[in-house]
């Protein structure tokens, strides 16, 4: 075949046609499943495990709980196993107290802690092992088995709350479960969660329930102090929140207001008319008074509810800078207060 003008034309033209047809037909998009690797982008905590065959998963997860399971038994789902990420600053003591109070223990201190704390090595991981059994219960007491894993920058809590018999039965499964877990904290700071149960024991009659924020740490309750929480931050500021209740009206609105004002070194008020600190408020559809007073160092936000025969005081007091930040949480808590009487 020799190249002359005619052939060049022929070849050129046919090539051009062929090329354009090829282009048209080959313009299909990628319509297939693709698999590829990328540098890690996910910023949340990574935690995964292998569930023992007779455990089931509770799909409803509340708050920062990463997982919640139960043991499948003949009488239905029993027991509660959880996976909870924690801020590293949370001490074993606080964790123990969270569960201890529920089971009837006195508040633990460093020395009494050692009675219930051991360590256990599972595979490559070392766990702090806390075994709490319900006081004052002869047979099959409720038991809380807390495994705490501390890694650099993160703390993971694996509580197993069930009757003692079930715990004994499932001990091996629990250990193999712990062995299979992969945990890695996320880039976001996590706040410590509240304990599994919310209502404390020993309350006066007619007491309300409420929802406290996750990072308020429960303190000791008494017959007068129905609820007690502390809140603190990195700078050392602290707040104390309490719900107190007394029979009668303990002196009335003005004297209580003045009592609080004195506590933060503000001058007392002469009359309840046009005072800047008080506004009308309602808690659970009952008439109450909202008290907001800020001084340079200390602040008190409070709500005073005078019932038929009892008075209820919701008060948060502490360093002003932290108080301003927590104010919204305080107001939110007030909206969740419910007396369950209507």
């Amino acid at each position: 075949m020799y190249f002359n003008s005619q052939n060049i034309f022929k070849i050129g033209a046919s090539n051009l046609l062929f090329f354009s047809l090829l282009c048209l037909t080959s313009c299909t998009e990628e319509t297939e499943i693709q698999t590829y690797y990328i540098p890690p982008e996910y910023e949340g905590p990574v935690v995964a495990w292998k569930l023992p065959p007779n455990w089931g998963e509770n799909p409803e997860l509340s708050g920062p709980m990463a997982g919640s399971f139960h043991v499948k038994t003949n009488s239905g789902p029993q027991g509660r196993i959880g996976v909870m990420p924690f801020r590293e600053a949370v001490s074993t003591l606080s964790i123990t107290n969270m569960f201890g109070m529920e089971l009837g223990y006195e508040k633990f201190k460093e020395d009494t802690l050692s009675q219930v704390l051991t360590t256990k090595k599972v595979g490559q991981k070392k766990f702090e092992w806390i075994h709490l059994t319900e006081r004052d219960s002869p047979s099959d007491p409720k038991t809380a088995l807390l495994a705490v894993l501390r890694q650099k920058d993160e703390t993971w809590l694996f509580p197993f709350v069930a009757n003692a018999a079930l715990i004994d039965q499932e001990m091996n499964s629990f250990i193999s479960f712990l062995d299979s877990t992969t945990v890695r904290a996320g880039k976001k700071v996590i706040r410590a969660p509240r304990p599994i149960s919310a209502a404390p024991i020993d309350k006066p009659t007619g007491a309300p329930t409420w929802d406290a924020p996750d990072h308020w740490i429960t303190g000791k309750a008494s017959s007068v102090r129905i609820a007690s929480y502390t809140v603190s931050d990195e700078d050392g500021n602290e707040l104390d929140f309490s719900i107190t209740s007394f029979p009668g009206d303990v002196g009335g609105l003005q004297s209580n207001v003045n009592r609080w004002l004195t506590q933060i070194e503000l001058p007392k008020i002469e009359s309840l008319e046009s005072t800047p600190y008080l506004t009308s408020y309602s808690i659970d559809e009952k008439d109450a008074h909202l008290f907001l007073a800020e001084n340079t160092e200390k602040t008190i936000y409070g709500a005073l509810l005078f019932g038929k025969s009892r008075s209820w005081f919701f008060k948060i007091m502490g360093d002003t800078s932290l108080a301003k930040v927590e104010k919204e949480n305080f107001l939110n808590l007030l909206t969740t207060v419910c007396f369950h009487d209507h």
Partner: protein, 427 residues
């Protein structure tokens, strides 16, 4: 010797060429050109009208990127109620474009004369052929995507403007994550997909390009599509969903949705709902706190944590772009933007960092892709680049050079002739 050179010359004349390629002659007729051009005008006009109904992209796909399209006279027009029932076939872009190219080549071969007078015309037509071919190639292989970067952050992927994919990401390893993505063309309701690299099969229950959704108190109040959803955000937020028509306008915000089941042999891991936010799944937290999890619905299996999301089709790049600062100014007292600028760092895999400034009419070119400043939001929190991959971008420029040369040649030729005539007349 003389005879031979004469013969050689004659091989190039029009007559000789016509004899050599007799089958090309009918393809070169001017009547054919006129018919094709008139049909093109009808095509362009109809496609422009159709943009009102299905948007620019829809009209382009239907009429220009096909061999033919069917047009119905719009009902809103005068006489539309009875004229709109007749389907009219309209020749499409590829058909007319292809025939025009053939017509032009045939004319080149059998009709065009290569004399000084006419060479301008040949060059013009050559430029036009190149323009046509270039445009057809571009349509076939150009890919347009967008990249959105929040201020102070960086991004290493680009997303398509249209089309969603279902993505499963295994984030268990600290060093790298594995992504398995299923493009929307495979997500047909009723089908079950085997997904290599992922432990479950995906059974598609419902899929659509746009929806509106609402929070309900309980599962019983949900709409039929989302009634069975029992895992993930669709369940915990009790979302009720109703499908909507795809919005074709330029500012469209389409929320694509997918309801699917995960099965593994007999084990069933629940029914899930995934919805794609048109501006990126990280914007869900601004819609509602309950929906923040749509960006990553967790799924655990055999000690590995996977996240599920429905998102715009993504392509990861081997480099990333970090947004340092953005500026946008408006003319005082108006809404009219004066200037858009993005200051970025291009972070290459080699670790090298390059600074760049991207603003109107000044793109960033790297790795076969070009990044144009496309949008910015008014509070200057994020910038959006339009990213184009178009290997055939040079073709229109070459075609334009040819066109200008040809036009100038022809024009000056005629002008000089005309002036010569005038001077002869006045002389």
């Amino acid at each position: 010797m003389n005879n031979q050179s004469k013969k050689k010359k004659s091989a190039y004349t029009v007559g000789a060429r016509r004899k050599a390629f007799p089958w090309m002659v009918p393809f070169a007729s001017v009547r054919l050109t006129l018919t094709l051009l008139s049909l093109s005008m009808i095509l362009i006009f109809v496609a422009t009208l159709e943009q009102v109904r299905i948007g620019i992209r829809g009209a382009q796909a239907e009429y220009f990127e096909s061999f033919y399209g069917i047009w119905y006279y719009p009902e809103q027009f005068w006489g539309g109620s009875f004229l709109s029932v007749v389907p009219l076939p309209i020749p499409g872009g590829y058909l007319l474009g292809g025939l025009l190219i053939i017509n032009l080549i045939a004319a080149f071969v059998t009709r065009f004369q290569w004399s000084g007078k006419k060479i301008g015309i040949q060059i013009i037509h050559l430029g036009i052929i190149l323009l046509l071919i270039g445009q057809m190639t571009t349509q076939a292989i150009q890919v347009e995507s967008r990249m959105q970067i929040n201020k102070g952050e960086s991004s290493d992927y680009i997303e398509r403007f249209h089309g969603v994919e279902l993505a499963f990401t295994d984030v268990t390893d600290a060093n790298r994550s594995k992504v398995v993505s299923i493009p929307e063309e495979l997500l047909k309701p009723g089908s079950t997909l085997r997904v290599p690299g992922f432990p479950f099969k995906v059974r598609v229950k419902a899929f659509g390009p746009n929806c509106s959704f609402d929070f309900k108190e309980s599962a019983a109040q949900r709409s039929k599509i989302t009634m069975d959803v029992n895992r993930g955000i669709g369940a915990s937020a009790n979302l009720s969903l109703s499908p909507r028509e795809e919005d074709y306008s330029n500012d469209a915000a389409n929320f694509g949705y997918l309801v699917f089941q995960l099965v593994n042999g007999s084990e069933e891991l629940g029914t899930w709902l995934a919805v794609a936010h048109p501006a990126g799944n990280d914007r869900w937290k601004f819609v509602h706190t309950k929906l923040e999890g749509m960006a990553f619905q967790p799924l655990r299996h055999e000690g590995r944590l996977w996240g599920v999301e429905l998102r715009s089709i993504r392509e990861y790049l081997p480099y990333s772009i970090e947004l340092l600062k953005i500026e946008n100014e408006f003319y005082q007292g108006t809404d009219i933007p004066h200037n858009f600028e993005s200051h970025v760092n291009l972070n290459l895999e080699s670790g090298q960092k390059r600074k760049a400034l991207v603003y109107m009419n000044t793109p960033l070119r790297h790795g076969g892709k070009t990044f144009y400043q496309y949008q910015m939001n008014k509070a200057a929190d994020y910038t959006v680049f339009q990213v184009i991959r178009n290997p055939s971008w040079l073709v229109p420029y070459i075609a334009c050079i040819l066109l200008s040369v040809g036009l100038l040649w022809q024009f000056s030729f005629h002008l000089i002739n005309f002036l010569r005539k005038q001077s002869k007349v006045s002389a």
